[in-house]
C-alpha cells in the first residue's frame, strides 16, 4: 500500500460539503481472514457531557455496534473500550455509511499494516463500512481514536480505551510477570469548550478556527469532570482495595497539553509504558507525560487510607498549571 497521489482537494461529493484534504473511501480489506474478535463501531456526533458547573458540552464518539448514525445520535464517553488478548486477530468494523462526515479508527500504539492504521492522508477517511484488521502482539494499555481532522475529532472525545491482555487474560499484566487484583482507568484529558461547537471539517480548507490554541476550561478523567469530587469513589476511575492486594493503574495522557500525575502518597511500579515492558521497572510517586503516552503502574499499598490521584494539566508553552483532574484510591485494612 503506497502513499496516495493526490486527489484530496475538495473531498469530492457524497455530502462532504466544503471539506478539504480528506480522502473518502472504504475499500475491501487486504488479506482479510476470519477474526478471533470483532468490534463494531458506529459514530455519534450529538453526545454530551455534563460538567460540575451544570453546563453541557457537545461530545462526539464511537457507538458500541453500528448505531443509526443519525444527526441526533448520542453515545457513551469515552467510547466503548476494546479488550483483546495478545495474538488474537481483531476486526474493528467502522460504519460511516450514509453519513455527512468522515472518520477513521486509529488504534494508537498498535502498529498494523498502513491500510489498518486509520490515517486519512496515507490511505482513506472512511465513508462507508471499513474493516481494520490487526493482531496485537504486546500486552499493555492503548487507546483508539479518530484520525480524521484529528486535532478536532480527538478533542471532541472520539476515543476509547484499548487494552491488550496477555494470553492468560485479565489479572496478569505480562506473561510470566506481575499480576493484579483490581484495575483503575485514568484517562486524563482537557476540554476547550470553544472548540466543541465546530463542524467535523472545521478549518480543513484553511479557515482560522483557532485550532492552534487550546485554552481548556474543563479537566476530565475517563469522561468525568475531575475538578471536584465527581470522579471520586466512582469505579473504574477510582478503586477500593485491601492492604495486600495489588492495583493496576492504567494511565492514558489523552489530552494535548502535558500532564503530571501524582499518586497522593502511594508509590507505584511502572512495568509497561506505551505497550512495551520496561527493561527495569521503575518506582514512582508521580509521572510526567505528554499527549498519547500510557503508563501501566502497579500499586501494593501497605497502609490503609484514602489516596488522591491528582493530575495537573500543564500549559505546553508556559508550564503553568491550567487545571487538575482528581480521583481516589481507597485502601482498607
Amino acid at each position: 500500500m503506497g502513499m496516495r497521489n493526490g486527489g484530496g482537494m475538495g473531498g469530492g461529493g457524497g455530502g462532504m460539503g466544503g471539506a478539504c484534504f480528506v480522502y473518502p473511501d472504504a475499500p475491501a480489506t487486504p488479506g482479510i481472514v476470519s477474526p478471533d474478535v470483532t468490534y463494531d463501531r458506529g459514530i455519534y456526533m450529538n453526545g454530551s457531557m455534563t460538567m460540575d458547573d451544570g453546563r453541557s458540552v457537545r461530545i462526539w464518539g464511537f457507538t458500541d455496534g453500528f448505531g443509526d448514525g443519525g444527526m441526533m445520535a448520542s453515545g457513551p464517553f469515552p467510547s466503548p473500550a476494546m479488550r483483546v488478548r495478545a495474538g488474537q486477530v481483531v476486526h474493528s468494523r467502522l460504519d460511516v455509511r450514509g453519513m455527512m462526515w468522515l472518520h477513521t479508527i486509529h488504534h494508537h500504539g498498535i502498529e498494523p499494516a498502513d491500510h489498518a492504521d486509520g490515517v486519512g492522508h496515507i490511505t482513506w477517511d472512511v465513508d462507508g463500512l471499513y474493516i481494520y484488521q490487526w493482531r496485537p502482539m504486546h500486552p499493555g494499555t492503548y487507546f483508539y481514536h479518530c484520525h480524521t481532522n484529528t486535532v478536532l475529532h480527538a478533542e471532541m472525545g472520539m476515543y476509547g480505551a484499548l487494552i491488550v491482555d496477555p494470553p492468560e487474560g485479565p489479572g496478569t499484566l505480562l506473561s510470566g510477570g506481575p499480576t493484579y487484583d483490581a484495575e483503575a482507568f485514568w484517562v486524563v484529558d482537557e476540554i476547550d469548550s470553544n472548540w466543541h461547537s465546530l463542524s467535523w471539517d472545521a478549518g480543513t480548507c484553511g479557515a482560522d478556527v483557532g485550532l492552534n490554541t487550546l485554552n481548556p476550561d474543563y479537566f476530565i478523567i475517563t469522561g468525568v469532570d475531575g475538578s471536584g469530587t465527581s470522579a471520586m469513589n466512582l469505579p473504574p476511575i477510582s478503586a477500593s482495595i485491601q492492604v495486600g492486594q495489588k492495583l493496576l493503574g492504567r494511565y492514558i495522557c489523552a489530552g494535548y497539553h502535558p500532564q503530571r500525575i501524582n499518586f497522593g502518597g502511594l508509590t507505584g511500579t511502572v512495568y509497561i509504558s506505551d505497550g512495551r515492558p520496561l527493561p527495569n521497572p521503575v518506582q514512582v510517586t508521580e509521572l510526567r507525560a505528554i499527549s498519547g503516552e500510557r503508563y501501566d503502574i502497579i500499586f501494593e499499598p501497605t497502609e490503609p487510607g484514602n489516596y488522591i490521584i491528582s493530575t495537573d494539566i500543564i500549559d505546553w508553552i508556559t508550564g503553568e498549571v491550567l487545571g487538575t483532574a482528581k480521583t481516589n484510591v481507597t485502601v482498607t485494612a
Partner: protein
C-alpha cells in the same frame, strides 16, 4: 529589508560531504581527526506560508542570497577541529553558540568572525544565536550539529544501540506577531501564540494541496525529514526543539528506541510510541528500527506511515489547515 529566497534542500552537494543533512546519510569514520570548515551567512527574508501570510525569518545560510531555516546540519567526528566562519549581513548583532562546545560572542553588523573549537563530546546539539534569547533563535537562527564517536559509524555513543542511517528532526513553532516585532527591531510584548509549526523549517502539504510532494515545500516528502528504509535499516533521529512548545513526537508503524533526553543518556532504552520533547531547547535521540510493523496481519514489510506530533495543535497552520503542521511520513520500501 532584503528580500531573499528560501532554500531548503536540493543544492545536491551533500553526498559524500561531512555536512550531511539529507536522509540516507552514511557516516564514514576516520582514524584521524580533521579540520572541518564551514561558512555561514546570517541573512533574513520573508517566507510565504500556506495561508498566504508572509512571515519574517533569519537564518544561518549557505550564501548571502538565501535564507536557510534551519541552517544546514553538520556531523563531525569526536576530536575534529571545527572552524566556523560567520558573516553577519544584518544590521543587528548576532552570535553562534553550541552549548558546551563554543560561543562566538557578539558578531556585529557586517562583521565576519571565525571561531575554532574541538568537538570534544559526542552527541546531538543545536547551534543557535543565543543573543536576545529566545527571539533570534525562534525566528530561525538555529540548526543541527552532531558529534559522532571517534571511529564509529553505527553508534551514537560508544556502546549505544546501532543504526545504519541518521536524520535530524528540528521542530519549531512560529508566532508571526513576534516575528514582525523582531523584524522591526522590537521586543515582542504580546502573549506567545504560535500559529505555524514546522519540522526542519517546513509544514506538511497533504496530497492534493499546493506543493504536495514538492520536497522543497512539503515536510511530508522533504528528504531531510521523511524516513525511508527497508526492514532492518535502523535509523537514528536526532530531535531538537528550538521552539517554545513542548511536543509529543509520535511515530506510527514502529516504537522507537529512546536513547537520550536533553543530552543525557537514559539509564535504560525504553521502546516508546510517544516521546516527551521539552519546549525551549528540548532534545532527544531515538532509533526508528524499521522492523516489520509488529501488529500487522498478515505481516507486511512495505507501506507508508506518519510521524506527527500528538500535541495536535501543532498539526495546524493559521488556526486550521489540519496536516499542514509539523509532521512527515515514514516509508517502508
Amino acid at each position: 529589508m532584503k528580500r531573499r529566497d528560501f532554500l531548503k534542500v536540493g543544492s545536491a552537494t551533500f553526498a559524500g560531504s561531512v555536512f550531511g543533512s539529507v536522509g540516507l546519510l552514511t557516516w564514514a569514520p576516520r582514524s584521524y581527526a580533521q579540520t572541518i570548515s564551514k561558512t555561514f551567512y546570517i541573512t533574513d527574508g520573508y517566507q510565504n506560508l500556506i495561508t498566504g501570510e508572509n512571515v519574517y525569518f533569519r537564518g544561518f545560510s549557505d550564501s548571502q542570497n538565501i535564507v536557510n531555516v534551519p541552517g544546514e546540519s553538520m556531523i563531525v567526528q569526536q576530536g575534529d577541529t571545527v572552524k566556523i566562519t560567520i558573516t553577519n549581513t544584518l544590521d543587528s548583532t548576532h552570535s553562534f553558540v553550541i552549548d558546551g562546545l563554543v560561543d562566538s560572542g557578539p558578531i556585529a553588523p557586517n562583521q565576519t568572525k571565525t571561531i575554532t573549537f574541538e568537538a570534544t563530546d559526542v552527541g546531538s546539539y543545536l547551534y543557535y544565536d543565543k543573543l536576545n534569547a529566545p527571539y533570534n533563535r525562534l525566528v530561525g537562527l538555529h540548526g543541527g550539529f552532531a558529534v559522532m564517536p571517534n571511529g564509529l559509524s553505527n553508534q551514537m555513543y560508544p556502546g549505544s544501540p546501532t543504526f545504519v542511517q541518521q536524520y535530524f528532526w528540528i521542530f519549531n513553532d512560529i508566532d508571526p506577531v513576534w516575528h514582525s516585532a523582531i523584524a522591526n527591531g522590537q521586543t515582542p510584548t504580546t502573549a506567545y501564540e504560535p500559529r505555524y509549526f514546522t519540522l526542519n523549517g517546513l509544514g506538511g502539504r497533504p496530497p492534493g494541496a499546493p506543493g504536495a510532494h514538492d520536497p522543497n515545500i512539503d515536510a511530508l516528502t522533504d528528504p531531510r525529514s521523511a524516513l525511508h528504509g527497508h526492514i532492518g535499516d535502523r535509523t537514528l533521529v536526532r530531535i531538537l526543539n528550538p521552539g517554545l512548545a513542548a511536543q509529543s513526537v509520535h511515530c506510527h508503524a514502529n516504537h522507537v528506541e529512546w536513547l537520550t533526553e536533553n543530552g543525557q543518556i537514559r539509564p535504560d532504552v525504553w521502546k516508546k510510541d510517544c516521546l516527551y520533547l521539552d519546549g525551549d531547547m528540548g532534545a532527544l535521540d531515538a532509533i526508528f528500527p524499521f522492523e516489520v510493523p509488529p501488529d500487522s496481519y498478515p505481516p507486511v514489510t512495505t507501506g507508508a506511515y506518519p510521524m506527527h506530533l500528538h500535541t495536535e495543535m501543532s498539526q495546524t497552520a493559521g488556526g486550521g489547515y489540519y496536516m499542514f503542521g509539523a509532521m512527515t511520513d515514514i516509508y517502508f520500501e
